[in-house]
């Protein structure tokens, strides 16, 4: 919007940096000691609550052929109604990384939002968690943006959520030293690009660039005359002016692609909501190459009432993640330079509820009293020079709060705020 102003500011900043190269933009004299292992991390929440029985223990066969090695046949009743997808080619992600088969969500209620909050903040929560407000503790995004050297713009951090109910709150905390100024860009693409909203948002007034200066003057005048002492004029994260234009262009491209029918069935396999969310995450990756991206899936939660559909969605989510990995590897700059972490937020109960599906399978809830609902897995894939390949850790090791420090270690910002991490780095996964 104010490109000229941005360029002028950028020029001054560049000049200052050239004149005093030892002073970093953050004001520090020396760079933090943390060294990056990769330049990109994608965290994929295999969320909605999945049980290790059906995933890494393969009780119904290998429902995750793109992720896990092995050809164990899928149970006949589950397979009978499964819309099979093309077999993922190449190596499984398990072969391209380290699998923690006995990961744990150790403490706190086994609710979805509790699981997300724990992973996003690296701290367990309890029943007092405010599901209508932001965390008091900084999120992964804020720590990344603030403690990276140099500090990172919001356009480098994305939270791609399935739902715009509650979950958008996870893009930054209320912590006084962090907060919105270090938050991530959040997007709920399945809503933003649906047919209803596309009709409302895909035809913007073109503002002639020659009018920009005049518009800026009018708005600048208005803003200079409106100041409320003590109140910060901000209601969320703000991108820089240049990044604002970049993101707006990205959104316009998405709407144009949608109009051209490119979103109808882009993978040619019939997509569910999980796969669509991953598809949009891939579009962000291809266009913006974020350094830190978090994307979630939620379809498996159908398991409360339909175990068979749950298994189908485990299968489809797995296929989507493999597709995501292929896109990452096909994206210049991210190829062999990205670590992917796949982890559920919580598990599911060991025993079924009273609801039965068409195959007479019992539904599964996720309650805190059932220890099985705390058993999850974690898969870390990455370049062979960084992540140990084809390694399976089949003892109890790692927990939800370890994900955040592990990402911090990979992206080199752990040393910027070591006291903020309650968990441990998952060093077993690294070369």
């Amino acid at each position: 919007m104010k490109r000229r102003h941005f360029l002028r500011t950028a020029g001054i900043t560049a000049g200052a940096i050239a004149a005093a190269p030892w002073i970093l933009p953050s004001g520090r004299l020396f760079a933090a000691t943390g060294q990056r292992l990769v330049d990109h991390v994608v965290l994929c929440f295999y969320a909605g609550g999945v049980r290790n029985f059906e995933t890494v223990q393969k009780a119904e066969g290998n429902l995750m052929p793109g992720l896990l090695s092995g050809n164990e046949p899928i149970s006949a009743d589950i397979a009978a109604t499964l819309a099979a997808l093309p077999t993922p080619g190449g190596l499984s992600l398990q072969e391209q990384g380290t699998l923690f088969k006995q990961f744990r969500f150790l403490q706190g209620p086994t609710g979805h939002y509790h699981g997300y909050s724990t992973a996003f903040t690296g701290r367990y929560v309890n029943n007092n968690l405010n599901t209508r407000g932001r965390s008091d503790f900084p999120t992964l995004f804020e720590l990344y943006r603030k403690h990276s050297e140099p500090q990172k713009n919001a356009i480098n951090a994305w939270w791609v959520s399935q739902s715009n109910n509650l979950y958008p709150l996870l893009n930054h905390s209320n912590h006084p030293d962090y907060g919105a100024q270090f938050g991530a860009n959040h997007i709920t693409p399945n809503t933003l690009f649906n047919s209803k909203l596309s009709a409302e948002l895909d035809d913007m007034l073109d503002i002639d660039p020659l009018h920009d200066a005049g518009i800026d003057k009018v708005r600048g005048f208005l803003d200079n005359h409106f100041q409320i002492p003590g109140i910060q004029l901000s209601n969320g994260i703000k991108n820089s002016e240049e990044d604002f234009d970049t993101i707006q262009s990205f959104l316009s491209k998405m709407y144009l692609d949608r109009q051209a029918g490119l979103h109808n069935n882009p993978w040619g396999v019939g997509m569910n909501g999980d796969m669509r969310n991953v598809f949009y995450a891939e579009e962000i990756i291809k266009s913006l190459k974020p350094e830190l991206l978090v994307v979630d899936m939620f379809g498996v939660d159908v398991c409360h009432r339909d175990f068979t559909a749950y298994c189908h969605n485990v299968y489809r989510a797995s296929w989507g993640i493999h597709h995501l990995w292929e896109t990452i590897q096909a994206t210049p700059g991210m190829t062999n330079n990205t670590m992917l972490i796949v982890v559920p937020e919580i598990g599911r109960n060991g025993s079924g509820n009273s609801l039965r599906d068409a195959n007479n399978r019992q539904g599964l809830d996720h309650t805190s009293e059932d220890g099985i609902s705390r058993e999850i897995f974690c898969l870390i894939a990455g370049p062979a020079s960084v992540v140990k390949q084809n390694q399976t850790i089949d003892v109890i090791a790692g927990e939800s709060i370890d994900v955040m420090p592990t990402i911090a270690h990979a992206l080199g910002f752990y040393d910027g705020a070591p006291s903020m991490f309650m968990g441990q780095k998952l060093m077993q996964a690294f070369v």
Binding site: M1, T188, T191, L192, G214, L222, H225, F226, I228, K238
Partner: protein, 159 residues
């Protein structure tokens, strides 16, 4: 005796009177911006429904409000989504706006109308003078451009 009184009078008359000295210095005085009593940020519903009414002069339908609110909540950077929502509304030929000739024909009336319509207040003389001058000096600016400037201003986010 007269001499004594005379000396006494001289002594007292020459005594320097104690004077109270008032010293005035210039302290720091903050020059506040205009504070029109708006310190509540509009909610997503309020922002969208008010913006719609400001442009169309009628209330937004529930279906449209629901759709746009979904959009508002689906992007973290509210500046970007507000920009997109407003520019989509501003492109609609159905919105109530003067044409270029009407605006340029009586700029003070147009400016005053913008303040009333979007900021729900009267402009002060400085605001009126300055914006009139700006619009006069920037001949390329259209009514949509001015509407867009007002609706993306900080004050427009508050009530």
């Amino acid at each position: 005796m007269q001499l004594i009184l005379l000396f006494a009078g001289l002594i007292f008359s020459c005594t320097k009177e104690k004077q109270q000295v008032n010293r005035y210095v210039l302290g720091d005085v903050a020059a506040p911006g205009y504070f029109p009593g708006k310190n509540n940020i509009k909610s997503d519903l309020q922002f969208i429904s008010i913006a719609f009414t400001d442009l169309y002069g009628v209330q937004i339908s529930n279906a449209k409000l629901s759709a746009l609110t979904d959009g508002y909540n689906s992007l973290g950077d509210k500046q970007i989504i507000i920009d997109r929502i407003l520019r989509n509304l501003l492109k609609d030929p159905e919105i109530q706006k003067p044409d270029m000739a009407t605006m340029r024909g009586n700029i003070p009336v147009f400016v005053r109308d913008c303040y009333r319509r979007f900021l729900v207040r009267e402009p002060n003389e400085n605001e009126l003078w300055y914006l009139r001058k700006l619009i006069e000096e920037n001949q390329e600016l259209s009514p949509e451009d001015i509407f867009y400037s007002f609706m993306t201003s900080e004050e427009y986010k508050y009530y």
